[in-house]
């Protein structure tokens, strides 16, 4: 495996409970960060990456997505949720082939690499083809096969999950797994129990939609005879759990969540586009609940650009905290990096630039030119990353020492071909 020297960058580090940007060189060996020093001399054996005029930061971690849903981008605009699902999503999902899922996934993974995300937590079906795309492009991913039993096919879903999980490759450590019951309103008690059993049997986390919209609250009560939080605790207490959304948490919910091994994957853009209002992430963090960031699928989340997610996550807190302290750009950076790593149980490996961690690193261009004029004068580099940067500023994306994109070129990928294949699916 090649050694990489990232030279002359402004490196974003977490030190003393703060986000610090320092001029540092970084050495990567065997996929790991082995040195972070002021000057590391170059050597012919190194793959040299010049990070002049660039911020060098941890790869972003998208903690809730539906990888193949790239094909549903901007299909929900101006139609009701029911019309959207009935006329646009379900008829297409119903006829998706394995090749379609692969092609749609390729587009999302390219989108993710090109916007600086190095790890993605998926929640979908036809998982074999998603895994094939993930392997092809060498990103980091947490994969699953979603379990729900609205169609009474629970055993089939469980078997699919098992067969998917059991055909994993040994030592393929870029891919990890979760057990993913769809949601408390789409899973019977039987399905939740089966999911908990699988999670315990394989020692895997749970990844579940939780209190995204107000409608769920009643639906869950009807289906299970008790409040959502009680159902959650009944089945998943003691299991590490990723709660996607968590928009509608009340005092009691927060009290219980604090006693559980769980955290929130906050998807601000999707929440807003679906009219679900605003999750009080400022409070969740104050209460000590881990909050990370996600994009959700492109059908509701627009795109996979986590810089946009960071920006919106910060901004919208000013929509519910009037003249009050609320999360800042620094917290948004945490949410998109180290908090995400914790939420996915990967924080010993990724989420920060530290000696000993895997080299999941991105470079973000801040050159003083016309494209970046919205960053200057740059009085606060951390705030600038959140408020005036998009994924398009990312020049280089590295996952475990593999350079997936360098100077905005993803080698071996014909972007036009990938777009065309995805377009053909929804024609």
């Amino acid at each position: 495996m090649e050694k990489i020297l990232i030279k002359n960058g402004k490196v974003l580090l977490f030190e003393n409970n703060d986000v610090i940007i320092k001029n540092r060189d970084i050495l990567v060996e065997e996929g790991k960060i082995t040195k972070i020093e002021e000057k590391i001399p170059n050597s012919p054996e190194y793959h040299l990456i010049d990070a002049q005029n660039q911020i060098v930061m941890p790869g972003l971690i998208n903690t809730h997505a539906h990888i193949p849903m790239s094909i549903f981008r901007e299909t929900s605009e101006g139609v009701s949720l029911n019309e959207w699902l009935n006329n646009r999503i379900w008829p297409i999902e119903d006829r998706l082939t394995k090749q379609d899922i692969y092609n749609a996934s390729m587009l999302s993974l390219i989108e993710m690499i090109s916007t600086g995300t190095t790890c993605i937590n998926d929640h979908y079906f036809m998982s074999e083809q998603i895994r094939e795309a993930v392997r092809k492009l060498k990103v980091r991913a947490v994969l699953t096969r979603v379990i729900m039993d609205v169609d009474n096919n629970l055993q089939e879903r469980i078997d699919e999950f098992k067969s998917f999980y059991e055909t994993r490759l040994p030592d393929e450590d870029l891919i990890t797994y979760s057990v993913a019951p769809h949601g408390l309103y789409t899973c019977t008690d039987k399905a939740l129990q089966a999911s908990a059993n699988l999670a315990r049997q394989y020692n895997l986390p749970i990844h579940i939609h939780f209190l995204e919209s107000i409608d769920e609250i009643d639906d869950i009560k009807k289906l299970h005879g008790k409040r959502a939080i009680e159902v959650l605790k009944q089945y998943f207490n003691g299991i590490h759990t990723v709660l996607a959304h968590g928009v509608k948490l009340d005092d009691e919910d927060i009290k219980v969540l604090k006693t559980m091994d769980c955290g929130i994957a906050h998807n601000p853009i999707s929440n807003l586009r679906l009219g679900c209002k605003i999750a009080d992430t400022t409070r969740y963090l104050q209460e000590g609940i881990n909050v990370a960031l996600g994009t959700d699928g492109q059908g509701s989340g627009s795109n996979l650009d986590m810089f946009e997610a960071m920006r919106i996550a910060c901004l919208i807190q000013g929509g519910i905290h009037e003249n009050e302290a609320r999360i800042t750009a620094k917290e948004a950076i945490y949410m998109a990096t180290i908090n995400g790593a914790k939420l996915l149980g990967l924080n010993t490996k990724i989420g920060s630039i530290e000696v000993g961690k895997d080299a999941d690193i991105i470079l973000v261009d801040i050159t003083k030119n016309l494209d970046n004029i919205i960053m200057y004068p740059n009085s606060n580099e951390v705030a600038n990353l959140v408020y005036n940067t998009t994924g398009r500023n990312v020049t280089t994306t590295i996952v475990k020492g593999n350079v997936l994109m360098e100077n905005r070129i993803i080698k071996g990928v014909d972007v036009n071909e990938i777009i065309k294949s995805a377009e053909n699916i929804i024609k």
Copy 2:
């Protein structure tokens, strides 16, 4: 003046109360749009602009900004409003030279041109230098000299405004003017009366901050002995008025505003960053109040990218309208174009691509490539403009037939030099 042929573009038009995108060529003569047809033959006398793979749309209109405030970008992050004003804004504003204002304005105008805004409504002081920069870069602007009398210098302010207005050039129709009392909480009755007098004397619109934050409500009552809306009506009834912000409107306010000749310049990003909560623009539009878009100064508004403003304006309505109809991408496009033109009293000239209107036109790149992968598949071109586009996609900016930027090059401008000059101001 050169004739321009914009060929092979996808042209965004307003037809039958809808936003339509059609393949059209556009001919520009003497600064005006003279033809919009399926195929207009090229001729050697034309400056040919190839719009293949681009959306051709009306230049965006920023209805509330403080042009020289580029230098305060990201200075407010993580500090209280008081600390920000006392330690960062006022000490610097106090020592700004004329050259500083010119340099800071140049940066904002370049920022505006490069992100597709062709017209900007300013609200600041040292207006001569702002006008000098506006003339130099040939953008369209509504200029003023802000009036306030917290420092008991009303007559001086009025004289400054008059001298500024009266030294305007004849036939300089890219620059128009407004009378700008700062706000109802920073102007005594005397200052408001003087502003109304000036507006009537010169037949100019008013441009004023109005109900941006909750604190204002009491402050205005204390200063004027009545509610904000009553003060507004007392002085400005019958005068066309641009109300910046209008976040805190109640039923009574809306009822009165509907009887007045006014509209709202909505600044979503600034409102959120200052913790002012969310203006109910969905309702304002339903009630028939004109709502346009602005960025506010970069100190609170991050940047002048109106695509970002459109996106956030749409998204945040989902933060207050749960499971309800609310403004869509189409309305955001209106807000940033034709509604803005109406608000500034310029809608017979600009705001849409129509034969007879001035050629204030921008081209937005949607080429299928890595930079634009977040747009594809593209099931809804209008939604894509709002949700997956930034000002960086703008390749070409034309104001009244002058090509200010072409293929992302602004001729005669050294961007690096302009950034350096702005940086020097806040060193």
